[in-house]
């Protein structure tokens, strides 16, 4: 499988990365080289094998449903690049 420049641009959009054309070209080369190496796993049929997303099977970890303390708002906002009136500031998303 090889990946076209348009596919690289599409994946960059999905990943929310504004890449310039030089980076897109270089990433196309790198991704294709990697995908070439990835061919080795295509030999595994494996349809009868259950895929495992984790090494340790822990399921249904619950915590008690009791109110707890959360971080104070000013502390939460301490690292925000832009905040106002106790809120994170983002560009307008919904028009007037």
């Amino acid at each position: 499988m090889s990946i076209s420049l348009d596919e690289v641009r599409h994946v960059a959009r999905l990943a929310r990365l504004a890449l310039d054309e030089t980076e897109i070209l270089s990433l196309q080369g790198e991704l294709n080289a990697l995908l070439g190496h990835f061919e080795d796993i295509q030999v595994i049929e494996g349809s009868g094998i259950e895929p495992k997303s984790h090494a340790v099977a822990i399921q249904n970890v619950w915590s008690e449903d009791v109110p707890g303390r959360t971080m104070p708002r000013n502390q939460t906002l301490l690292n925000a690049p832009l905040s106002r009136a106790g809120l994170f500031v983002v560009p307008m998303i919904i028009e007037d």
């Binding site: 499988m1 990946i3 596919e7 690289v8 994946v11 960059a12 999905l14 990943a15 929310r16 990365l17 504004a18 890449l19 980076e23 990433l27 790198e30 991704l31 080289a33 990697l34 190496h37 990835f38 080795d40 796993i41 295509q42 595994i44 494996g46 094998i49 259950e50 895929p51 495992k52 997303s53 984790h54 090494a55 340790v56 822990i58 970890v61 915590s63 971080m71 502390q75 939460t76 301490l78 690292n79 925000a80 690049p81 832009l82 994170f88 983002v90 560009p91 307008m92 998303i93």
Partner: protein, 483 residues
């Protein structure tokens, strides 16, 4: 010099009041001031905060409430959150980020009275095997300043080998503790997945990441492991087990132990000096009564591919949180999406972007089955192979890294060669088993690492074996001088 003592020796000297916590922390701060401009281990050192925690530690000693780690300095990889101390993951995108909370391991170190020295350099977001992907600085190998300390926890490994810290913590997603430990000639240990809380470790590959220690001996590694491990309700993947005890560390014997040698981990393409040093160690262990059997684990050959699909897939999801809104750098763009896209494009380095791209691609519609799902199936096969192996064997032995420390810049233009450096260490992350690397000798003046892997959750047994192995091998007595 105090910096030459092991953590266990420092601990005894502090407890017996032969030395004060202040003297100990000052010795290491002096050492950092003297040598770190050349080694580049630390991204942040805050002498005032370190001395403050030494004062708190001394109070514990004076009131008799101290423990084995009280007053012992520890360096922390800079992807472990420290309240009030900048934590960057060696990425421009987190420059200036001051966590409002401590990682669980940090909380536990503070409770134990350990002195926190500073934050160490790493490959950006722990993605790499040479520490050259740091956005801020190079770290050099104390054994040869022209060479890499390995990675991604290169700063932690080099700080311990250079005696800038008696102990350090790192994180291991595909070998990021064990591989730099091997290249720097120190002990590096990745506990069983889930035995050390990941709360506050800035996530890379959540199903693979595990925090663990660097030390100059297995005894020292066990000392800090006991303090940082054990169940934590803040981490949903934390195992409901107590901390990893070091009580019976020295009670093991090698006589009659059965060890497996997977032939896939002794590939002919590996460095001949590494192979011959490891084979010599095997001969020494045979004389101590270990019985070795060569086995085959075919899935290991597919480990690198499996890892380089699963880890980037998880990373592409984990790193979605860096959007320029809640923390870190922000670069304005066209509207909200433009802001996110520009922030990430300027904040992340090349290797991080590359892994986000491969992960996004592997998870995207049309390719999910061919790559991600298939990788999860191989992960399943590999786990099964290890389960079967541990029914018959006490441990699995291999080289830790296929090569000794390489020159800085040597592999930078060859991303695939860089990725193959994880070949021997990846299986323990995919399978969740504990793995430890210890020095087993030298080739052309450079340390060679020996990796031992144990059955999942049998960390106490693995550490006991590692301690006995360490006693049976000629150990490094001449640590490198940085002068």
């Amino acid at each position: 010099m105090l910096t030459e003592f092991s953590a266990a020796e420092l601990s005894r000297k502090i407890a017996s009041k032969e030395v004060s916590c202040r003297e100990v922390v000052d010795a290491f701060l002096d050492r950092i001031a003297r040598d770190d401009s050349r080694l580049g281990c630390f991204l942040t050192v805050d002498p005032e905060k370190a001395r403050e925690s030494a004062r708190a530690a001394q109070a514990m000693v004076d009131t008799g409430s101290g423990g084995p780690l009280t007053g012992v300095p520890v360096a922390l990889k800079d992807n472990i959150s420290t309240e009030g101390i900048e934590t960057t993951c060696a990425s421009k995108i987190l420059k200036g980020y001051i966590p409002p909370f401590d990682a669980t391991v940090v909380t536990r170190l503070k409770l134990a009275g350990a002195t926190l020295l500073g934050k160490t350099n790493l490959d950006e977001f722990a993605m790499g095997t040479s520490t050259e992907n740091s956005a801020f600085q190079l770290t050099r190998n104390p054994w040869d300043l022209d060479r890499s300390p390995g990675g991604s926890s290169g700063g932690s490994a080099a700080s311990v080998a250079g005696r800038l810290a008696p102990l350090a913590l790192g994180s291991d997603t595909g070998g990021s503790i064990r591989q730099p430990a091997a290249l720097c000639g120190v002990v590096g240990y990745k506990p069983t997945y889930g035995r050390c809380s990941r709360y506050g470790l800035i996530a890379f590959g959540s199903s693979l990441d595990q925090i663990g220690p660097f030390a100059r001996s297995v005894e020292d590694a066990a000392l800090i492991t006991e303090a940082i491990t054990g169940h934590d309700a803040m981490d949903g993947t934390s195992l409901p087990l107590p901390s990893i005890s070091s009580a019976r560390l020295k009670e093991g014997s090698l006589k009659g132990l059965k060890a497996a040698l997977p032939k896939e981990l002794f590939a002919e393409s590996m460095n001949p000096g590494v192979l011959s040093t490891v084979y010599a160690a095997i001969e020494s262990l045979k004389r101590e009564g270990v019985r070795f059997t060569e086995i085959s684990m075919p899935s290991i050959a597919l480990g690198v591919t499996t890892y380089y699909i699963i880890a980037p897939a998880e990373a592409s999801s984990n790193l979605a949180r860096f959007d320029g809104v809640r923390y870190g750098v922000r670069v304005d763009g066209q509207g909200h999406i433009g802001l996110v896209e520009r922030t990430r494009a300027e904040g992340f380095g090349h290797e991080v972007k590359s892994r986000i791209m491969i992960g996004t691609y592997a998870l995207s519609a049309g390719y999910y089955d061919a790559y991600y799902l298939r990788a999860l199936r191989i992960r399943s096969i590999m786990q099964h192979e290890f389960e079967e192996t541990f029914k018959d064997f006490d441990f699995v032995l291999s080289p830790t890294s296929p090569v000794p420390a390489f020159r800085l810049g040597e592999l930078r233009m060859d991303p695939m060669a860089m990725k193959l450096l994880d070949f021997c260490t990846i299986p323990a992350n995919l399978g969740g088993m504990p793995g430890i690397s210890l020095n087993c000798g030298f080739t052309e003046g450079l340390p060679v690492g020996l990796q031992l892997m144990g059955a999942p959750s049998e960390d106490e047994k693995l550490l006991q074996i590692a301690y006995s192995v360490e006693q049976a091998l000629p150990t490094a007595t001449n640590w490198p001088s940085i002068a």
